[in-house]
Symmetry: C2
Subunit: 142 residues, 2 copies
DNA sequence: GTATCAGGTGAAAATGATTTTCATTATCAG
DNA sequence: CTGATAATGAAAATCATTTTCACCTGATAC
């Protein structure tokens, strides 16, 4: 798997490119759909043994600030992380086993249809908009 | 504010109706949009002083199992709770001040339009489907 | 290439949200 | 009214995550 473009983007953020960060990037790329810090740590450890969980957290936080990674919360309090810049998509979260699949389209009806087409039984959905409320936009937005 | 219908629904779940649970229900009703356990605790304490935070958590968990309350995760790891059975809706989460507003319609385009109409600047959205994957449905779903 | 040093790392401890434990209290079916 | 048993409160435990701090190492300047 080619991590060069990611490495370039990460370096562009101003930080240094260490073996640990490379391992986290590669793990993210290999794991794909919204893994937890723990899962990323386990995978990245195979690439760079001795890598600490704390470093994984710090690295993910750094990448998130640089916009390289997005942190999201699905069905529980554990943060989940995924690389940004891929195609915009949403998730299918299984309430029984917790597996997460991704879904490319984002319109409601189409999404539900797409989910059903893969045998996923939809029992609930969640749709949230993030941004800045009127009060926080003016006078100095953010 | 009338809590009688809620009290009835809560009792129907099989549990006992205590002053603490009544206070939590009332607080949920008064607070409206997706408060945290902490916020619910603070409000419910005014109704029933001495009410412990632990009890709030337990009560919310119980209500969630009975389908009276839904627990959700928005922009951070803190769980948020809201009464079920109201009109289906979604949320506007301000990334700056953290306030949460609710939105009635759930179709993407309409939702974004509705958000903008209230001066909310949308910078991202999240849409998740929950349910059971093919593997978990068969042979004994759930 | 090598020195330099700010940025990065690992381990341990701290934190914050939530859950568990356990002794005590209170609801409500009979 | 009373007993069985569910619910409560306080303290301690747990889990994910963050902070601290002493040590290390990329990558720029030489």
């Amino acid at each position: 798997m080619n991590t060069a473009p990611l490495t370039r983007r990460a370096r562009a953020g101003g930080g240094r490119m260490t073996a640990q960060r490379r391992a986290v990037l590669q793990a993210l790329q290999e794991l794909g759909c919204a893994p937890t810090a723990e899962e990323i740590h386990t995978r990245a450890r195979h690439i760079r043994s001795g890598l600490g969980l704390v470093t994984v957290y710090r690295t993910l936080e750094t990448f998130a600030q640089e916009g390289l990674v997005q942190r999201l919360f699905l069905d529980d309090a554990r943060g989940r992380y995924e690389l940004m810049g891929g195609r915009h998509h949403h998730h299918l979260v299984c309430l029984s086993c917790g597996t997460i699949q991704s879904l490319n389209r984002c319109f409601l009806a189409a999404a539900e249809r797409a989910a059903r087409a893969r045998g996923f039984k939809v029992t609930a959905h969640r749709f949230e908009l993030f941004g800045y409320c009127r009060r926080c936009q003016a006078p100095a937005a953010r």
